[in-house]
């Protein structure tokens, strides 16, 4: 059992760091004059040109044929340096890996290279206004027609929806079947979707709602089997919980280090209660880092992605929420006055963090997954 880099991993990390340190300063200069979106677009192009995208994808589809560990190392070093998020994050994190597992050769050829080049940007059409945690109850309908399907319905909480060309879309294709068996997974074009931004409690607009009215999707854009979409969706959700873990641990670390700096600035370094809370957070943030190293090691040694993602997601949401709340509890009034000079960070972080125990599967859903799959308790939902 080794927690440090092997020699090859250390060499790979060195190459990553030297590329990032060469590339990021130039990008930051460009960034001053451009929007976040342009910056993300430009960043993905740089990553693509440098051969850093799709590190764990097969070479024949534009990937680099490495393992989950190299991908994790690359992501970790990026987040550490506050690199932007690539514009096609969901295509890279979710769409590509799901297509690699379930796609036909034609689908892989057709879609994977364009995900990496960001010629096609992806979003995820899973949640609906009436069906969040009860994903399998989704009501968006697909009716069979000549050469394909006509789809109608409504989706919500769609990150990147306003940028997307393509959507990982779940729709009901057999209303008479039991709810998990009548769903199909489509690779849909979003050009005919009506997409509207939603404003979050911190004022930002990260996600959207999508109205889909009689939109055609061709037969060749069904991913996996017709009515077999639930299994394909499970791949996407498992990938979602596992692949973001390395970013999560660095985000949590950044928040905690910032809290520690705040504590010192406010002259609370000798307060034993404050020290105890910091210690608690430190242990939690370390556990996320170590747990992620363990699950990534297991993945690259050939294990199937399991429920580790649920554990990390619960730990992360809990840690970041508590860190942000404690920063506000320290009681400096300028921390809650968003907009005062340099003070927006904590109130924004606190408000945004309330979503961490909701997005990507609520805490309650993650606990049910652990209860059923790790502890073997009976299923509590139908």
């Amino acid at each position: 059992m080794h927690f440090d880099d092997t020699r090859e991993q250390a060499n790979f990390r060195k190459r990553v760091i030297s590329w990032l340190e060469e590339t990021l300063p130039g990008l930051r200069k460009v960034g001053k004059e451009s929007s976040e979106e342009e910056l993300s677009r430009h960043w993905q192009k740089l990553m693509h040109d440098g051969g850093w995208l799709g590190l764990a994808w097969p070479k024949e589809f534009g990937g680099q044929g490495l393992s989950a560990i190299e991908e994790a190392i690359f992501n970790e070093e990026c987040v550490r340096r506050d690199a932007p998020i690539p514009i096609n994050l969901l295509g890279i994190l979710l769409g590509g890996p799901t297509i690699i597992v379930h796609g036909t050769d034609a689908q892989k050829k057709r879609y994977l290279p364009k995900i990496l080049s960001a010629d096609e940007i992806w979003c995820q059409g899973f949640s609906e206004p009436g069906n969040g945690s009860d994903l399998a109850g989704l009501r968006t309908r697909a009716e069979k027609t000549e050469g394909g399907w006509r789809i109608s319905g409504q989706k919500v909480w769609t990150s990147s929806g306003h940028l997307a060309h393509k959507c990982l879309l779940l729709a009901r294709t057999d209303p008479s079947a039991s709810k998990h068996r009548g769903i199909t997974y489509f690779l849909a074009d979003t050009s005919a979707f009506d997409i509207r931004p939603l404003r979050m409690i911190n004022g930002e607009a990260e996600f959207n709602e999508m109205f889909i009215d009689d939109v055609f999707v061709a037969d060749e854009d069904v991913l996996g089997e017709v009515n077999g979409g639930w299994q394909v969706a499970m791949t996407t959700l498992t990938v979602e919980r596992n692949s973001v873990a390395f970013n999560l641990q660095v985000w949590a670390r950044q928040a905690l280090d910032r809290l520690a700096a705040e504590v010192m600035e406010q002259g609370l370094a000798d307060d034993t209660y404050v020290l105890e809370r910091l210690g608690e957070f430190e242990a939690e943030v370390e556990a996320i880092r170590i747990g992620t190293i363990r699950s990534t090691s297991a993945l690259s040694a050939g294990s199937q992605a399991g429920v580790e993602g649920s554990t990390v997601k619960l730990q992360w949401a809990h840690a970041v929420q508590n860190i942000a709340r404690f920063a506000l509890e320290l009681g400096a009034i300028d921390l809650v006055l968003a907009g005062a000079e340099g003070s927006g960070y904590w109130i924004n972080r606190y408000l945004r963090a309330r979503g961490h125990s909701i997005e990507g599967g609520t805490d309650e859903i993650q606990k049910s997954i652990i209860a059923e799959r790790v502890l073997g308790l009976p299923r509590s939902r139908l």
Binding site: M1, H2, F3, D4, D5, T6, Q9, I69, L256, D257, A260, A261, V263, M264, A269, T272, V274, L275, E276, R277, L278, G279, E280, E282, A283, E284, E286, A287, I290, G291, I293, R294, T296, S297, A298, A301, T311, L314, Q315, E364, Q366, K367, S368, I370, A371, E372, V374, L375, G376, L377, P378, R379, S380
Partner: protein, 347 residues
């Protein structure tokens, strides 16, 4: 990174599972007045006391994580054994650089004596070493009543090997363990080292490993009951109010185990993080063990309050061991201070 169990580590777990086999039954028998069971102590003492001690030092090699796996696995079933405390004393001696005479270790129980009445966990200590003689009192010494040899923590980061003059058995909350108060009246210090910390780190992380086992055992115990006990026509484990408590306990247990594995590795590889990692592991393992045993008891309902039931055995082990080698509060504070000194050295 290759943070997965290696072949020989999986073997350690297998062997330990076999030895732990009917640990809980042994525990129940012990409670109803049976004498201390010879199995698996006999096998453990004969074959496993040199684990994680280099061959050059008379041990049988292997890493600290191997021993942590062995201890965790035994503790999942609360297998009554004196081996754990014996081997923790050997590890404290080894980590501090005290020579270990395995012929002596074969003969009888060793114990690690650190705590003193109303003193912070790692001193300042009142036990004195002068002219190579030790005077003073140590309390809460696991199996100190049966020990031939004590490893004694002293002032100024010193630690010594000596024979206690007298021992008094304490009334332990944990009915499956024995704790004693040891007195040293001018006992000869056979060996002295000035690296107590090196030994106490190893001992502390092994207590964390034990607590991880207790935590996992409690979760397993609560889950087994939740599958079988029915109310309102359903197994109670199908209710989220029950299932989610156990899931939370499982997450806490996994958190503690990750920290413990890392701390073992950090000590073994001489990583500069080791001290911090041990604080984190001990704090979270204590928390997880207490939390999980409380959940297991709650899930058992009224039965969980009876002497014949199992959850209280986990709870008592958790509460007691959480207080050995530094309580949760103390380890968290140390960790908080370490974080602040890291941040202030960067800025």
């Amino acid at each position: 990174m290759k943070a997965i169990l290696e072949e020989e580590q999986r073997l350690v777990v297998e062997v330990a599972e076999r030895m732990a086999g009917n640990g809980l039954q042994n525990a129940q028998r012990l409670l109803s007045g049976a004498p201390w069971p010879e199995y698996p102590d006999h096998d453990l003492m004969a074959n496993w006391q040199g684990l994680a001690i280099g061959e050059a030092d008379g041990g049988s090699g292997g890493r600290l994580v191997d021993l942590a796996l062995l201890i965790r696995t035994l503790s999942i079933r609360l297998t009554p054994c004196r081996y754990i405390d014996h081997v923790i004393a050997l590890q404290a001696a080894f980590g501090a650089g005290l020579p270990i005479d395995f012929k002596v270790a074969d003969e009888g129980q060793w114990c690690l004596a650190v705590a003193e009445p109303r003193t912070p966990p790692f001193g300042p200590f009142a036990c004195r070493l002068s002219n190579n003689r030790i005077d003073g009192t140590k309390t809460g010494v696991p199996f100190g009543n049966r020990a031939e040899i004590a490893i004694i923590a002293l002032e100024d980061n010193r630690i010594a090997l000596a024979k206690p003059s007298e021992s008094i058995l304490s009334d332990s909350a944990d009915p499956l363990a024995e704790y004693a108060c040891l007195t040293f009246n001018g006992s000869a210090a056979e060996h002295v080292s000035d690296n107590a910390n090196g030994g106490l780190l190893r001992a502390t992380v092994l207590i964390a490993a034990e607590l991880c086992g207790v935590a996992q055992g409690a979760v397993d115990n609560g889950s087994a009951y939740a599958k079988e006990r029915a109310q309102f026509g359903q197994p109670i484990g199908s209710y989220q109010g029950v299932a989610h408590q156990l899931a939370e306990a499982q997450v806490a247990t996994e958190t503690a185990w990750s920290l413990t594995l890392y701390a073992c590795w950090a000590i073994d590889s001489g990583n500069s993080d080791a001290q911090k990692a041990v604080h984190a592991a001990k704090a979270k393992a204590s928390e997880a063990a207490v939390f999980s045993s409380e959940r297991a008891l709650q899930v058992h309902g009224g039965i969980g309050m009876t002497w014949e039931s199992t959850p209280h055995l986990y709870l008592k082990r958790a509460i007691t061991r959480a207080a050995v080698l530094g309580g949760t509060h103390w380890h968290r504070q140390q960790l908080g201070s370490a974080l602040l000194s890291k941040i202030s050295s960067v800025s």
